[in-house]
Subunit: 318 residues, 4 copies
């Protein structure tokens, strides 16, 4: 346990609500920009988020050397200062490497660990299940599964998620699978199985209202880096039963999400367009100092930034 | 440059012939089994291979912690002792992490570096090209591209490979794409472009004769761990124009390759079946001490081992 | 126009609400079972559906010879008898063949045509757009696009759908893409573009409440063949603002949807499990006479039928 | 049996050698251009091909109405006049529709039938096997399997092909799978299983020499429409053991194959680029009258035609 957290009360056994995956600000020479990261984290917590997910996909975790990852986690935990729990990604191709990152996250004071199915290495359902079970045994913190087939090539089946949930192997899932049908079925299956305190989070920015209404524990939207207050309003509208208000806010955020189309598709793809847009928006908003991003991605240019500026303007953020 | 290599003559600018991707023997507690690795490397060189590819996919590179990777590379380079060049995999999701592994391989005395397109992180053609160009600038050793879409999700286009080859960014390619049509076209394109010394290697065990006849520089077959002498005979038959002999040897090796079907598909998939079978065969042959394999893979069991034993027997290896 | 429809008032320009894709009952020798089809259609209309989609994927349209398709459409239109509009699938690999089926549907008295992107033939975005535009020019009835990448390999992009909607080429879309994120974005895009009367239907049984709340025009759930009254209740709950009631009904239907898992995965896949389960449930419920299905699919067996019986029982349908 | 064929001797039980998939010439209003088709067929037979495959993928079979398909088959069979066997595609999404096309091909005098796995309809291995077995029972002519996963989404496994071959269900396979590794393994498996007269054809234009050397029965290259004499020379070189000559001819044909890159990728994809290029080359060579192609494909334009002209020139065809 990190010394800074002593005396603070963080509920480390349940995770609910709005938990943004924190992007990793960089300096122009692609080192971690700790001052910007502190500002970003403070802004998120001030806006009212319920937790932070550090070192996730949008946090460029697989692009960062270990030393940079350690620094990111230290800064996020220190800045959060126990106000909200910090969930740390331990995202590596296979089990032994995940052990290393998970234990380091434990040492640095994280409150939970998130890991994906193995990637690069070709595996099937038995290997995936062995992976999660072995990692859970090796770490003391709660373990959440990260379902992101677009990155790891395989979807975690509901059958597997349900079995791991019932056996207490995983405390939750972040669903970035793109398969809302399966997620909806999972929510019903969990209820029918009597698994009550499972943290089923949607990672889909434009489906937060629907999934909260359907019983999701919370959301992990990358876009909340840019507009945390909007997502806080959305969560509160759903909780208070203001369906029309939730839908209106959700639609506003759906329009904001078009910043991920700002980069020129002729020269930018994938994460350049996604995390690259979030960073550029945060730079435009004055939260972080540069929109630098890890190689081989490139920062958005002036024309692309102008498009993002216009969208921020249109949804009332500027 | 590693001290052990001083005084030895290794041609580090061209790579040709049979270059097996060396598997990584483990002890039963999943530590690098250096004694077995030394035996394996010695056996390969004695059989007549032209080079060694350490820390490739079959070498479990993405499953190993950095300390284990360093140890593997040290043992392979020390055991090779300059008799053949050692190509080292620097296989990480993105650029900065590849830098770290590539520089470490340089320090340890490797003769060339192999890297893939980025993985996990979503990228497009521009990001992939920037990745290879940036890595090539950062390392002094020759760089080879590893085309393995089944692991990284994207095929390297012939257009990109040709451009990188012409610009001197890459010195060769290991083709594990499964797309022999594209590889064949690449060989013609390279010739037409006047790129003469490009190391175009096929990674497909059962197509070595065809691809050597078509003009490939060599092969990188995982199965050569098990039967290096067979692959040496195959290469020599093609070079000497003994087409019928080459085909007969190729077909024998194609039958041997059925060891990758030995593991029970109901409980084993992907690399458990592939590298797991190579390791089990090498254990049966007495080359390595155990068929232990990194988590979350599992070693083949007794029934599966018996199937492999029978195949080894049928092709005359026992 | 079919004589039987004269004197009936069917609004053929807007399509909203619950429009089940009607399955095609067969006799044991795999001929269209017209008596069962009449019973099925009558039951759907009596339950309160707003329209019928004949000759869709669940209707086995691509498995039926043309004569059988004509018979199905005739029976559905005659039985509907103008009480609800009938939308007819014209689903063929490419344009000229779609013309033939669309014109036949016009002759037989359908109120709208549904077609997919081309399939089998390899095409890109330009060919897909030309396909929809040419078909729309060739038919007088409203044209709906059917977005079903799992069958045709390509998703219809929101950019294309929006352009076709604005240009009046298509009057709606049935979304069976599995990509609810894109569908949600489309709903917002349509509104922002001022396209008001576009029939955006979700085809996902377990997301009907969420998508109606998000502004979808209606749903086309295959499962409504089995429990039309449940889906009618669901639609009405959403329209009346009874969110809790809608969610409860949606979850009941999500449990019912588990009938598609009843067939043994060791010997049945894909449509055998889907349409095969719908047919078996309808046979158990006494609506159709057999659960026969077109070759190469197989009807569910006694053990599989027992599982479906138990599920029907558990949700109160028996 | 077609009357025209009486008195001619065609061996209908074995199929070997060069069997081009005949493209379907169209008039500018997209009707079958029978005069051009007769010239094309005559040119192929005069060049020395061993058989003809009518109504395959490059023949636009899934894009043509049934009446056009019948006309194509009649013209091909009548023009071949028993000089070489004619294999007819019966390519439809599912079994009953394949029956219809296969029986019509029998009536029109074809010598064998080719069919694919089901498409559009979702199926698994059991449904695919039932499809081939049921079709084979329903037709008297030899049945060949067409393995083309890029169009039907699933590869025919070697296990399935071998079982169907051993049971006499299929007389051969046209491999357009892109998976030459699997095809090579199949050739070895067939030999080991003692299946001697199986017609294993490669459909890959640039791998014909390699696959003939590996024991393939023949090739079905679309490009042979354009340069039948080149492919005849290639086949003869392999048969006569002139490996260097075969490779030189193969490389010339690989260069010619670049005509499929002539169409502008910004406005043309898939079959527009493939069959569209073959047709344009044949028009340039004066064999067919127009390069018209079925909707939604488009004919290549003047600039694209000029690129094809230059390639034809560079390989000595003009």
């Amino acid at each position: 346990m990190n010394d800074e957290l002593e005396g603070h009360q963080v509920n480390t056994t349940t995770f609910r609500g709005l938990v943004p995956p924190v992007i990793t600000p960089l300096t122009t020479d692609r080192q971690v920009d700790t001052a910007s990261l502190e500002r970003l984290v403070d802004r998120l917590i001030t806006a009212g988020v319920d937790g932070l997910f550090a070192l996730g996909s949008s946090g460029e975790t697989v692009l960062l050397p270990d030393a940079a990852r350690d620094l990111v986690l230290e800064v996020v935990i220190k800045t959060a200062d126990g106000r909200v729990p910090v969930i740390a990604g331990a995202i590596e191709p296979a089990t032994a490497r995940v052990f290393e990152r998970a234990r380091q996250a434990e040492r640095l004071g994280a409150h939970a660990i998130v890991t994906t199915a193995p990637f690069y290495v070709l595996v099937g359902p038995h290997e995936i299940e062995r992976h999660f079970r072995t990692v859970a045994e090796a770490v003391e913190l709660p373990l959440l599964a990260y379902d992101i087939p677009v990155c790891v090539r395989q979807k975690l089946s509901n059958e597997l998620l349900l079995r791991l949930a019932r056996d207490g192997v995983i405390a939750g899932v972040k669903d970035s699978s793109g398969d809302d049908v399966a997620f909806r079925q999972l929510l019903v299956d969990l209820r029918d199985a009597g698994v009550d305190d499972f943290a089923a989070f949607t990672g889909h920015e434009v489906m937060v209202d629907a999934m909260l209404l359907a019983g999701a524990a919370g959301s992990v939207p990358g876009l909340a880096n840019v507009d945390p207050e909007g997502f806080v309003r959305l969560h509160r509208a759903v909780v208070s039963g203001d369906i029309a208000g939730a839908r209106a806010e959700q639609e506003r955020l759906t329009r904001l999400f078009k910043i991920v189309d700002a980069a020129d598709p002729a020269t930018a793809a994938g994460m350049t367009r996604g995390a690259g847009a979030f960073k550029t928006a945060l730079q435009v908003l004055g939260v972080i100092s540069t929109n630098a991003i890890s190689l081989p991605l490139r920062p958005l240019d002036a024309a692309e930034t102008a498009r993002i500026h216009a969208i921020l303007d249109s949804v009332g953020l500027i």
